[in-house]
């Protein structure tokens, strides 16, 4: 493990005063290796190493900690600070409040839409699920089935002509029937697909969402920077949901997404069942990335 490597590298530092540059360089090399193996973006790693080096250089080794532990703590704390930060609750202003779920193909948007509805219902809200993916085979049926599993009402998108029409109609019905939160599932798409990114902008204009959640796979590699940037520049992301966190992917892509969008990671998906949605804890992911 990384902390064990730091302990070995820095075991002779104690008693010599502050950590020296040579000690730090070797330990930083290990950090760089660990972060790249954990799928943190190449450039993000560079910037992170620079920050950690500054924090570690000249720092007095505390009497109560071995230098290896000291260094581990610096790296862990810095990573936690970068991953976390601002309030990661859901912004639910609006009558009804609208949450849009967007992202690449297969990332887990449809499942997460149902999970969020379940989460909100258990908090006493009255959510309405809106399937706005008319492209993927049986996508509307998939969300309908999930909605019925958790006994949340679902807009009937069958027979509607296009996603904008669905969204307009769903907003109208929600106001009529008094649902207080709309959860809109959109089709997976590539950030480089101009036409589909335009469609997303159109949906945003119709829905005026208080949350646009970028649903991303926690096993995403270096490309996370590109996709997060692409979606953020097109429609502005308000939060990130990392799915399939129940696997063994180290999850370094999360750091790329957090730093690229500047937005908080709000939830993690921890399984296929609809109660498998948890609030994100930065220090937990930091530990996993550094493992």
């Amino acid at each position: 493990s990384l902390s064990e490597k730091f302990r070995k590298i820095l075991k002779d530092v104690r008693g010599l005063g502050a950590i020296s540059e040579a000690n730090v360089q070797e330990a930083l090399k290990e950090v760089r290796l660990a972060l790249l193996e954990a799928d943190v973006n190449f450039t993000v790693v560079k910037d992170f190493i620079a920050i950690v080096k500054e924090k570690a250089m000249g720092k007095e080794v505390l009497e109560s900690l071995s230098p290896g532990q000291q260094f581990t703590k610096i790296v862990h704390d810095e990573l936690t600070a970068l991953l976390g930060g601002e309030n990661s609750g859901l912004e639910l202003s609006g009558k009804p409040a609208v949450i849009m779920l967007v992202g690449l193909q297969g990332s887990g948007k449809t499942t997460t839409t149902a999970k969020l509805a379940y989460h909100l219902k258990s908090k006493g809200r009255n959510p309405y699920i809106v399937p706005a993916d008319l492209f993927r085979l049986a996508a509307v049926l998939q969300l309908k089935k999930l909605a019925s599993e958790i006994k949340v009402d679902c807009f009937d998108s069958e027979g509607m002509n296009n996603p904008p029409e669905i969204c307009r109609e769903a907003v109208r019905i929600a106001a009529l029937k008094g649902y207080d939160i709309l959860l809109v599932d959109t089709a997976g798409r590539l950030h480089i697909d101009g036409t589909l990114m335009e469609e997303l902008k159109t949906l945003k204009e119709i829905l005026k969402p208080s949350e646009i959640l970028f649903v991303a796979d926690s096993m995403t590699g270096q490309d996370a920077v590109n996709t997060a940037r692409g979606f953020n520049e097109a429609i502005g992301v308000t939060g990130v949901v990392l799915t399939k966190f129940d696997g063994d992917a180290r999850g370094g892509a999360a750091l790329s997404m957090r730093l690229t969008t500047g937005r908080p990671i709000k939830f993690i998906g921890t399984g296929e069942k609809l109660d498998c949605l948890e609030v994100f804890h930065p220090s937990r992911l930091a530990g996993r990335i550094l493992d």
Partner: protein, 274 residues
């Protein structure tokens, strides 16, 4: 123009960076570029370096450029992989491809877990014009495969493609279920599944290596399909997988349409990567 000492090192570092950012991984990227370092003493041209890098990667990938030979009847393909990578869509594309070759294709809806998975595959069956053997959601996938093997023999199907539920390789019980489905197929039809096709998403990072290792250990993977190469991800993860596991890369997915499937070509892949 000549690339001298300092700038040559810079250039090699840039090449290494381009490999890492394509998900080749730090270990493989460093090893590949290091082997170039020793070979390239004295060569002085940046573009020449890139060419040598391409050749080095091509040498790795040409070993796994082995198209799938459908040489038995019925030829059974079991499609597996983690959640959301494109298994069901890839099956639709394969069904269309093999039907166009004049073969009779049959699909088996082996994902009995996920909502609307059966209906999604039935949709692809309609598009490709081939029958889908199915039971009910919540049922035993082994029972579906059993039915499919019997139906294939009875109807004289040329190709049978088994869809399975997405499953994380870390879920021991789901890996056991996959092994069971594999056993059912081989009991009903000796030699089946003739191809165990692992589907990997090109945007996946280093975790793809774990996926390949564990699925291979569980059922023996005989081919890989790399999907979503139409995005900006380069899919470099197949390089460490090729080096370590030597599993043939059969297909690449380049879109969501029924024709968006190509046979893997090592030279094309390398040209797009570096």
């Amino acid at each position: 123009s000549a690339v001298t000492g300092a700038s040559r090192e810079e250039f090699l570092e840039k090449l290494e960076e381009s490999l890492i950012t394509s998900d080749v991984g730090i270990k493989a990227s460093t090893e590949i570029v290091d082997s170039l370092r020793t070979k390239l003493v004295g060569w002085g041209n940046g573009e020449k370096f890139r060419e040598y890098l391409r050749d080095a990667i091509y040498d790795i990938l040409k070993e796994v450029e082995k198209p799938l030979e459908v040489d038995k009847s019925p030829f059974v393909i079991m499609v597996l992989g983690v959640n959301g990578v494109g298994k069901t869509t890839t099956i639709g594309k394969l069904a269309s491809r093999y039907s166009a070759e004049g073969r009779s294709v049959m699909l088996a809806a082996g994902d009995t877990f996920r909502a609307a998975a059966i209906e999604q595959l039935e949709g692809w069956g309609k598009r490709a014009g081939c029958p889908v053997v199915r039971q009910e959601q919540g049922g035993d996938p082994g029972a579906v495969v059993f039915d499919a093997m019997k139906a294939a023999r009875a109807r004289g199907a040329d190709v049978v493609i088994l869809d399975t539920a997405g499953r994380l390789h870390t879920k021991v019980n789901l890996i056991e279920e996959l092994k069971k489905v594999n056993r059912v197929a081989s009991r009903e039809l000796p030699g089946a599944p003739h191809e165990k096709l692992l589907v990997l998403d090109a945007s996946t990072g280093q975790n793809a290596i774990n996926q390949a290792r564990i699925f291979n250990e569980a059922v023996g993977v005989t081919g890989i399909a790399l999907t979503k190469l139409d995005g900006t991800a380069r899919g470099g993860i197949i390089i460490p997988i090729a080096r370590e596991l030597k599993i043939p890369i059969r297909f690449v997915g380049v879109g969501e349409g029924i024709d968006d499937l190509r046979e893997f070509n090592a030279r094309d892949f390398v040209e797009a990567l570096v």
